[in-house]
């Protein structure tokens, strides 16, 4: 059985979830993304990616406590699963191994 695939945007979101494990939630991820990518991202795109990855089993989520912020609505914190980590590792390995195969290319005149 082939493992579920991981899209580019999804990979970014997953990286942030891993980076802020247990602390990551929609708005936080959005802000990180906007900061790193230097472009506008819609919150819905983040949620789509999160929900998809949750279905694929790369992340899991649980509600935080009720606070005074956000009109009393609870945050949902995401954390990476072992499967998610494995996929991320493999993706990283694959990229570096291919990257290392690149011969020295000169872009000179």
């Amino acid at each position: 059985m082939s493992e579920p695939s991981l899209g580019e945007f999804e990979e970014l979101v997953l990286l942030f979830v891993a980076a802020h494990n247990q602390e990551a939630y929609g708005v936080l991820i959005l802000e990180c993304l906007e900061e790193k990518l230097q472009k506008k991202v819609n919150i819905s795109a983040v949620h789509v990616a999160l929900k998809r990855m949750e279905n694929k089993g790369f992340v899991e989520s649980n509600f935080g406590g009720i606070t005074n912020e956000r009109g009393g609505r609870r945050k949902k914190y995401y954390s990476i699963t072992s499967l998610g980590k494995k996929v991320l590792d493999r993706q990283y390995e694959l990229r570096t191994s291919i990257y290392n195969q690149i011969p020295k290319i000169s872009f000179g005149q």
């Binding site: 939630y25 708005v27 819905s44 956000r70 609505r73």
Partner: protein
Amino acid sequence: MKPQPPKRALKFFRWFCREDYLEEIEGDLVELFEKRYEASPARARRGFVWSVIKYFRPGFVRSFFNIKNSNTAMLQHNIKISWRNLKRQPFFTVLNTFGLAIGMAGTLLISLFIYDELSFDKMYPGSDRIYRVNIENKIAGEVNKYAAVSSPLANVMRRDYPHLELVTRFRHTEGKLIRQVDAEVNVKEMHVVGVDSTFFDMFGFDLLIGNKATAFNEQNSIVLTRSAAEKHFDINKAVGQSMLMDNKDVYIVTGVIDDMPRNSLFRDHTVFLSLNSFADHDSPAWNNWNFPTFARLRPGASVAEFQEYLGTVKERYLIPWAMTFVPGLTIENSREESKRTGNYMIFDAIALEEVHLNSPNLSGEFSANGDIQNIYILALIGVFMVLLACVNFMNLSTARSLRRAKEVGIRKTLGSERVGLVRQFLTEATLISFMSLILGLGMAVLVMPYFNQLADKSLEIPLLSPLFWMVLILAMLLLGLFSGSYPAFLMSKFSAIKALRGGAIKTRDGNVRSILVIVQFSVSVFLIVSTMVVFQQLKFIQNKDLGYNKDQILVIEDVDATGDQVLTFKEEVKRLAEVSNVSLSSYLPTPSERNGTTFFPKGHVLQSDYAIIIGNWDVDFDYVSTLGLEMLVGRDFDSNLATDSSAVIFNEAAVAQLGVTPEEAVGMLVTDDFRDGSETEMDWKTIIGVVKNFHFETLRNGIDAMSLTIGTESKKMMVKLKSSDYSASINRIERAWREVAPGQPFDYYFMDDSFNETYKAEQRLSKIFVVFTVLSIFIACLGLFGLAAFNAEKRSKEIGIRKVLGASVSQITYRLSVDFLKLVALAVVLSIPLSWIAMNRWLQNFSYRIDIPEWVFVVAAVLAVIISLLTVSYQSIKAALSNPVKSLRSE
């Protein structure tokens, strides 16, 4: 106070977002909004709305079928449970679905047929204001109606009666041979009619080619339908072509009209001639009834007034016209006479839309009419079929109700109300009805071509019409609710405690079930009897002694196309070894031309008491012998006697009108040449013989008075063949035809075929009867089969105990079958008188009819018993053969 996100967007979001995501996403949205609000409130609002819109996508929108605590959830639950229940009882489900599907398919076909019949002649603009004028004439105790009237009537109406918008006249004429002037081969067109220039306005027709305003202005103008025109030339070149009619008259094509609508009284007509081409088109004679006349009333005009006006026409015009040549005739004495004799003649009008179904076939009709009675019969059969299928459903469902008692008990214990249970059972019924609809529609599509053949129609299932689907779905829902209502009512009544405690639940539905079975079999027996009676009547008609011999007679059409060669041709054919006799005449006992005249006996000329208006056929010397007519007294025409050209032969009915015995009639002098001069100058004919009555109209009618005289103009030739090798004989006759009439079509048919054609309507009816009878019985049997299966199952313990105690297989089979047989027997008893009454009424349509033989009822009864026995016995025997250990073990 914190900033509030846009209310409407939030509300929308809460409405569509799935519940498990709602809190998280809403929270994130609000947080983001609050953060951005500080920078720019407007932008934050816009961003919020935009994000909400972006969430409106499949992954985030909730399933609207999953709304809890609402009717839809319950409905979904009901459908799911229903589906499981149906799957759990595949035998029962298939039986029900199949039966209902057959019923639906049959009813669908019947409905389409009826819808088509009802749509006749409704497509013309203002068709509800168009009326046709008829003549009703009573003479010698017999009432006759004619669909064609006198030629001057149209003009008189136009002049006298201001409430008419439009009047148009037709003139019937026989079939014609048509070719282009320079072409060689003739085409026979059977349905040709003369029309007024107002034809197009009256019926809203348009010409494809040509100018409708002038198309019928000139004499000898002809308009062809598209398909008739295409036989001769490209329709774009049609206008101005010269056509030769019957090899002598030249007509100029002035237009091409589209083929007539299939549900119009003109549907057969292909050739329209300008009315003024006919010599008698402006004849002042009121006694020549050749002109079908239609009038369109102005909106709001009273029909009763129009009828009243028509009632006055006779005294205002017809009698004054007759007074010009009948000495001594006055309006007063004609009134007096009609009072004394009871004879009358009146013009009246019938609505065009009524013509097709609500008027009998009159002489002068454009095309054969339908019969509203057949529509009623078919509608009844359609209703029967659906009813039978519904009854099946009720029977099987209630029968199985015991099995579901536990389900009902548990549901009630868990708090289900009765309404909920009823809904559950109704859903089940509707589900079955839905599956049947799909299956039935498929069946209908498949059998449509055969049905069209059977009914002589070209119907289609209007799969693209939204109205059709609406009606269909509505019918399906009604059917589901109707057939499910009784079982639902019954089953939801069970008491929870009793149902769960186990043991028998006493319901009285057994009685209802018995009644339903009785209804089903009553209908079946009724249909069996009806079918057999229709068949008997048809057989009776076909084998009835008609007074002439129609067998082995070949009729050749249009022999006048041979011109002056016709007698040569006759001799030629007569010489052939396999031909025993040949006769020329336009008048046959099977459908053909008809003509009538008025005779006065010598000494009573122009005394209306003595006038006899009877059929008058021009025949030749071999006519009587070729047809095998029997002379009662007197003799046949004799070609050796020169005087016989002014002789006449009467039939018995004509002699009866004269008021003398056949023996007295022979030798009497009569005349139909009474209009001018004195008795001495009139052309007198001697009655030389009286022929026995023979049936020249269909057996629905009696035998009219008629007379035979020697004539020379004939269009048809009858050839009596000896051998049975018809094709060889026909080949030889055709060879002779080619010599005398090259290029003319050789049209022939057998007289008995033409005779049978006359009863096509009855034959069609009988076939339709058979098909739907078989279907209905089949549906009834499906139900009975299911019921028997259930019964055997319910009594399996009883059977087991009986077997253990030593009952034989045959005893048990008997016990299981006899209950059903009792019901069937009761059904037979009920339906026999009903079918007897109904079929007697149907037979009243025929002048010559059978008495319903008793054996028909015996056969129907035996058939019903045998069919039900076969249906039941399979299940009974199966149950009786089963191992008692199996059924008793579980206790």
